[in-house]
Symmetry: D3
Subunit: 250 residues, 6 copies
């Protein structure tokens, strides 16, 4: 089984960290690859960053479809950028790390809180909770107020702030579990979890397991109805290469 | 990894069928066992049946906890009877097949319909959809109007009616996937799916994969907050054996 | 008119207290009886306790149906355990004390808060509010953090804590009324209400009045659709006596 | 116990019919009176009619408060016109017949449909369902397409159409009970119910029972918070008599 | 284009202030008139005040329809009293200032808070948010605790309290904009906005612009379905003049 | 006042048609310009098309900000692609045509239906209705099953199908208004409206009016909270030009 992780931002070191964190959780028989778009923002901290990164996600899926052999994709940014577009492009399951974390958190607790990076991204999580159906399962969205790349550049400070915010969530929010709201936190999960002492759900590993689950069940993205392959059509300018895609590619 | 499937009804042949269907989907390294309560209804087709079966589910979990070594439990009836009670009794993940099917269906489609056995059980599914957050992801709850045990006694007729209802769902409901609404359909999934031609999600295998996922991630049922072990106390009469449970058992 | 109160826990003294509290509110012409299951937990403070008690509730309804002459049942535990199952078993109205309190509270205020015993049971109330439709009418679920039986063993302390929490609700929650979240508080209502100075709704008396209302209107539990009598079938083991119930009994 | 029914329209014969229907359901010890506003529409079939009638409802409550001795009020039009205003004017419980019917219907069925007079009033019921929390308990709002006063002028035709629409609801809507959506149907309830064969809930009798319930429990409309007596102030013109009301009147 | 503003309370000086505030925002080519009902409360601070004022609103619309030439109406009280009734009476668009402010606030922010006069009117705003669909866009309803007419009588104190509450909303509520919850604040908007430093949306000007928008697009209140003209019928007593309205007038 | 319309697809003739339709509705004093992205799909009929077009929308806004002098932007595709991203990039109001049509439709009717092009895009509208709060105001999403560019290439056929579907909506959906679900229908609105005979709301003109409204009120996109300018950062590859944007541009 070949699962491909797409880090929607273009910071290769973060791709590696995510890849590495996922490797530790991959099942025997799962082959993991990871990539980031060639073009896009180095981190995703706004709707604008997200919009640009979503194109990169789609392009990475198309690249995967062209190369073939990929059984599932993971979109490893907590806003799940381009998720439904990615699903249109392939029969393979595509899992976002926000949705994955939400799903698993509801299986081990009745209510959870999210601890994310910057408070300005809270609205993205809020909209996803509404769309996915988990609005009432999430008690509160909290921010550690650390820029995404500080997870790479100042990991100790970032770690400390995240742990502190997680502890506040645990003590004040009437919850059973915490969802970590950034792909860049993937490699910190175990230590955070150890410090906080209640279940901490991280999206990359959650998505990996959901992807493995769907693949092993033979469940593919539905091509009946609104996730069918997009109609082929001309694209112009710098997106001309997307023209007349006759999906599925072969 | 040891996953134990609890068939909440007391029909051993159905337990075997479910066990068998699950075996085909189990990962290497997963040891599967299955049991049904000693006491309870032979099938679950009403709130009343469900209430009685929920005690059986709890008792099977306690039996498992006493024996030890179980990493996750599956509650294999589409009403998820006793699910939250079961979660209180153990640190191991406990997955219901209705929730499992709903979760996976939302990952491969934007909207799904349910095809269940008897229309009178539709309200149970409806309440679960509301509690879990999937009310708006489910377009319609349909019934093939076959009693649960007909899945065992008249499998051809049952199969035919289910397929017909699934096809109606596919053609009329503006959906991308179908959720099968009965544990007893587990061994028919592949054939149904083949006939219907769109993704068909069945809860036993879905729950198996979610259970494997949580276990492999080290995520356990939260013991912080409202799923903590129940307070020990006296139970009377035929339930006296439940008295003064000092969980976790060891 | 004969109304039978089922105390879902097995503490006979609490049954008596509830019975006594209800007697004070019964209309002329209402004959009140009360019982508790022979088997089950002495108090209900978790999903697990609730699951076991729900069987007891069903059995008490069946006992009532066998004896005959009961016009309505009350399920006197704030989680309304086994309510829909009980409704399936009889044409008589069956009222839960949580739903009853919620209904009446919305008739005299626009928003209310709940003051219950232990915070771990808050999730049970939360799920009921969602199912019944009152999620937005309840501002907050508060706990006095007293075990249920302390209402019997340490009534003064319990009373004091409940009053304090009710006063906090009154002063902080932007509400018009308080719902008491435990059947064991039934006999304290008037004193609590006197101390708190705003309407305090208690479920046992509320349920009694709703039951009297339905009976006097000739409204019975619908047997059309999903609350129809359960299909008769074999039950095994300690529940064998539930086999092949051909309801209505007679 | 003195309960006063306010028929919000000004058709005295309808007041009498409602009064008469209610009398049959009143408990021993309940004294029933009924009135209609001096001013207002002869029937209520639009938002406009409702707005005018709401003033009449308020004025009838004030008249009752001036005379004193009224323990509860019923607002006997299915749109519950002026309900919250009426509650502000008195400590006595005030019950609307729409809310009353919804509440009782949810106690005897899991889902209901409404059969009302004209389809144009459906939106009023829809808004009430949303505000009260019963949106998901109501499967469908149906209209018999009969003007309100035809219930008086052409009772046989009206009865026939209502019964037909109720039967359609019963057969097509996946429900357990029907709510009659007009006060003018109060005296037809038993015959309709007999024809339709499933529980039919009518609001006047339902409201009567809820009013009796609250009074006998000593529960009054909360004067804490947003249902407190209105601040006294000048009113001008034809409403000058409402000026400087120092409630409670004495 | 002739737009008529109805101040639902009867304080002419407030009508003038609202008219004046609106004039500053009117487009070239928009002729603005304003009136208040002849009869009704001098301010609207309760459901009771609102119910009475709603009749005045309807009467002002009828007056306008009789005179002719009015292209749109504005209902200038934050509870939108009589809004749907007013819409029934005319083909012209009718805009409430609460709805107008909510609509515009969601176009420039993702979440807003309301700052209103008295906390007792919060429930009115809450019900409107629910009915209009903006429940989740509003983080919090705050009150400056000033009676409506203090906006006229003690403008400096009122201004100060409103600004303080707006600043608290800005700093504590995780919002992008503030909605002013009283028509009487219309002439203070710019100064408040200047003090608070984030967008402040006031309903009168918002409604004016929405009215101009609809008129210039040729969009009229739908007469198809539930906003059709009311059926003509007798009205009695002080409302006899409303009898047998054959709308549209003329 | 300078309002710039962005047609998110790259079909210049459609931009012109939209521009032309808008011109007819622009107020005196409004200067209208229109453009389409240099790069992107020629029509938007899937999540994939939408994701690519959203980048184009953002780039057109940046181009506008660089040139300066634009008072508001309109995103003229019914999925509102890139709307929140666009809002982050400018203080000017940015209005999507789907949201605009929804808002105005709720002001002239209580319930509406949408008639869009292809049924596969219904899910996009459904998600927007949920996010914006209008889920319950929309009775049904209907598709005329015409590809977007057929509006240009086969206008008569397209017109006919749209009118037919609108008439079905009018007759079957219990609505007061219809929302046209495609920017390409902008120039057909008046004729459609004439054929259908009930209010038909089209998003381009609706957005134009909302944009004019906000500008004339001096209401800008909030820069407080989650719509603040994005943090400047490196972008790579074909998006390198987006690097280190220090907004606001000057």
């Amino acid at each position: 089984m070949h699962i491909h992780i797409i880090n929607p931002n273009t910071t290769a070191s973060m791709t590696q960290a995510i890849h590495h964190a996922a490797e530790r959780q991959a099942s025997t028989g799962t082959r993991l690859t990871a990539s980031q778009p060639e073009s896009g923002p180095v981190s995703i901290e706004s709707h604008f960053d997200e919009v640009v990164s979503a194109v990169g996600v789609a392009q990475e899926v198309l690249k995967g479809e062209r190369e073939g052999g990929i059984d599932a994709y993971i979109v490893a940014c907590f806003g799940d950028p381009g998720l439904l577009a990615a699903r249109e492009l392939t029969r393979a399951p595509v899992i976002g790390i926000a949705e994955a974390a939400f799903h698993l958190a509801t299986l081990i607790s009745t209510r959870f809180s999210i601890v994310t990076t910057l408070s300005r991204t809270g609205i993205i999580a809020e909209h996803l909770l509404e769309q996915y159906g988990f609005r009432h399962h999430c008690r509160r969205i909290r921010a550690a107020e650390i820029p995404v790349l500080d997870l790479e550049h100042h990991p100790e400070v970032a770690f400390q702030r995240i742990v502190e915010e997680c502890c506040r969530a645990r003590d004040e929010d009437d919850i059973g579990a915490i969802v970590l709201g950034c792909g860049g936190m993937a490699n910190l999960t175990q230590e955070i979890s150890h410090e906080v002492g209640i279940p901490v759900v991280e999206g990359v590993s959650a998505a990996l397991k959901l992807a493995e689950s769907l693949v092993s069940l033979g469940l593919h993205t539905s091509k009946h109805g609104d996730l069918a392959y997009p109609r082929p059509k001309p694209f112009t300018g710098q997106f001309a290469a997307l023209s007349d895609l006759h999906l599925p590619l072969k």
